[in-house]
Symmetry: C2
Subunit: 405 residues, 2 copies
DNA sequence: GATTTTGTGTTAAATAACTTGACATTTAAT
DNA sequence: ATTAAATGTCAAGTTATTTAACACAAAATC
């Protein structure tokens, strides 16, 4: 008796149930026993035994070490970690972060490099290839050991095609066949997705969004994007561009944005906007810790954040203002989506409560009571790894579901 | 082999499939044959035959008259209309519309009265009771013939409790036990829901949103609200208040709104806002067809719409401006949700292209290319009946699913 | 106009995937 | 020590479905 698992493609009932069991084992913190699975699934214990036996014979699932803490404990199940490995990659505007994880989603190695996404696909994808190859080698593995590689990019992804369509902060990448190029290099399953969506997935599976069915993840970096999880599933929209919150209009006549419009959220509260704002104030001679940076050096968002953390008032104020603008947009989003949690991640979120508090204030002031009472605004628990971790989760899902056929 | 029908509660597999079959027969325009069901469900024709036989024995389903147009036609199935009846009601700020429909969702009688929702629950629910009783009688039926009654109200509904929570345009209704009061009066299943959500459901089932999996319905009346359908299912959010788009901030320092904030969409583009705007202009002595209305008579939104339709330039301009503001909000929504269609309904939508064109312009200017290319902006096909029709659909679903146990 | 092809709907037997009910096992409560 | 309660397993029975065969009707082909 199983009903509602719309995420899985058509397959026979037992295989479907196997997949559900695998996911319940993966995503239940503290593990789950056969009896627990029975309750969750609405199947009898006898049926669960049969399913788990199959998975155990395949080598995917095993019983965890029993805790010696006394008291009868049911046999808790876990995924066999060494059955396979995956790689999760986040490509941002200025960096690439790659993680290698085993079948239980434990990260066994990571590596980060700096890039500039404006160098275009050829240059960046070569760099991407190098990091991935290196991190695999450093983990003591080879490419053939890797079942799948998940990649997050900061633009609207057409999942079926494996490319990005008209990405505002990825000039030169429009319709470039990212997935097929990488497929040729690696000869394993490559899954391309939007970075904010993957951040949402990561936080839902292993971060601040555990056990939350309706979740919004806001990635505030160079760009601003949102990942949406509705009823425990990633929501893409019709063409896969859902969550593009960065280019909603905040100020009718605000400063001009990379997308061509005026007053976009990203042009007001994005990483570049904050850095630009700081530069202007410095040049106007405002008193700040950043003064020493001079005219030739380009002030970055990280400079502003670290100065703010060290107590610099100007930088704190700039970040706080960005938070207020973000909060206005998030308040609208809370009214519209009515989520149980909004998770703030991405580079700018490193500034912590300096950014979060103004957001919380705006949400409680501008959202309807019903909605604002029901929502928490939290920082990403996985921090800068959120998107890469989501890529891991996705690659793992793909691989496990293939494996358990 | 059936997988993804998460809308249905837990039940055994065949019963579940029965419900799916009933819904496919209901919602497939032009009807569907056993072979068609087989393809849709992924079941064999033999299995479908067995399921349809059961439903036929219950009296819910039958074969439609064969078209005599020649050429082999499969036996098209239909719901037996006379097996049961339901009522669908829309309660707006100023009116109540009640529909009686048979099991095939054909409306057999309707009735509308004027009310003022500010008179509070006792007064309005008595009026509601009267209209419903009358329309049932006029349809030649009695209360015992009615299997379920669906009701839409213009505020955030807590479905589990059957009441509204902190509704901006329903003063005096906060936490009033609407459903249980009506239950006592009628002694049949009462389903309370948000009017915009029901509008979305109605348009999805029988209107402009047929065959669209991801749909947004915007109800522009006295209040402004949205109904969301994601992956063919109504989306409520955690506490049932999703879609409350009327109180997102459009102008930081705009005019004050019933909700207490400033510059809400509703305070700028809602029915009351439009009427108020017209009154002001008239008092300022602007040249308009409305001049004759004098100072004592309160100009209504309907006056403005009919004047605009008759060519009054001022009224046209006021509606067009409201459309532009709506369009800005809808553009954000399109970026965020990436729907395939946005349907504009509610009283103000009676003004047609005068309202729609500015919305389309704003969406194509302010939304990302990927999202705006994928979306159509249309008027509600069911017009002022959209929400009440959604209430019918919901009541019918409830009744049919109960019946086919 | 006869023949083949294609799609529809039905039936009976076989199979997959459960449930039922009984039982051994382990721990907690009395 | 005894009882209660939950876990995990096994064999037998049940249900919903598939398989495979066939009858039927219309369209396409010759």
């Amino acid at each position: 008796m199983k009903t509602n698992y719309s995420a899985y493609p058509r397959m026979n009932v037992k295989t479907l149930n196997k997949h559900v069991v695998v996911d319940l084992i993966r995503f239940t913190s503290g593990g789950i026993s056969r009896a627990g699975l029975s309750r969750e699934l609405g199947l009898t214990r006898a049926a669960v035994t049969s399913i788990v036996n199959d998975l155990s014979d395949m080598g995917i699932v095993r019983e965890a070490e029993k805790q010696t803490s006394g008291g009868r404990k049911p046999a808790v199940l876990e995924i066999v970690p060494s059955q396979g490995y995956v790689v999760g990659v986040e490509m941002g505007a200025t960096h690439i972060l790659a993680l290698v994880a085993d079948y239980s989603a434990r990260v066994i190695r990571e590596k980060e490099i700096q890039i500039d996404i404006k160098d275009g696909p050829e240059v960046c994808l070569s760099a991407l290839d190098r990091v991935v190859q290196q991190v695999i080698a450093e983990a003591g593995l080879q490419l053939v050991d890797i079942h799948a590689i998940g990649i997050g990019v900061p633009g609207p992804v057409v999942i079926s095609e494996g490319l990005v369509s008209a990405p505002p902060i990825m000039p030169g990448w429009d319709n470039f066949p990212i997935r097929s190029v990488l497929n040729k290099k690696w000869d394993c399953h490559v899954l391309l997705n939007n970075d904010a969506e993957l951040g949402a997935l990561g936080e839902w599976a292993y971060g601040a969004g555990r056990n939350e069915a309706n979740l919004v993840y806001i990635k505030v970096g160079t760009g601003i994007g949102a990942g949406l999880i509705f009823d425990n599933e990633l929501y893409h929209g019709v063409t896969g561009s859902a969550g593009e919150i960065g280019h909603i209009t905040i100020r009718e006549n605000g400063s001009i944005c990379t997308c061509g419009n005026r007053g976009c959220l990203e042009a007001v509260a994005g990483g570049n906007a904050i850095a630009l704002r700081a530069s202007e104030e410095v040049q106007r001679g405002k008193r700040t810790q950043l003064v020493g940076f001079g005219d030739f050096y380009q002030i970055t968002i990280n400079d502003v954040i670290s100065a703010a953390r060290k107590g610099d008032l100007l930088c704190q104020q700039i970040i706080s203002e960005a938070g207020t603008h973000l909060g206005t947009a998030i308040a609208s989003l809370v009214n519209l989506i009515n989520p149980s949690i909004v998770i703030i991640g991405g580079g700018v979120a490193q500034s912590g409560d300096l950014l979060l508090e103004p957001i919380r204030t705006a949400v409680s002031r501008r959202s309807l009571r019903v909605a604002s009472k029901a929502v928490r605004v939290s920082a990403a628990l996985l921090g800068r790894r959120a998107s890469a971790m989501g890529a891991v989760v996705q690659a793992l899902s793909h691989s496990l579901h293939q494996f358990s056929e």
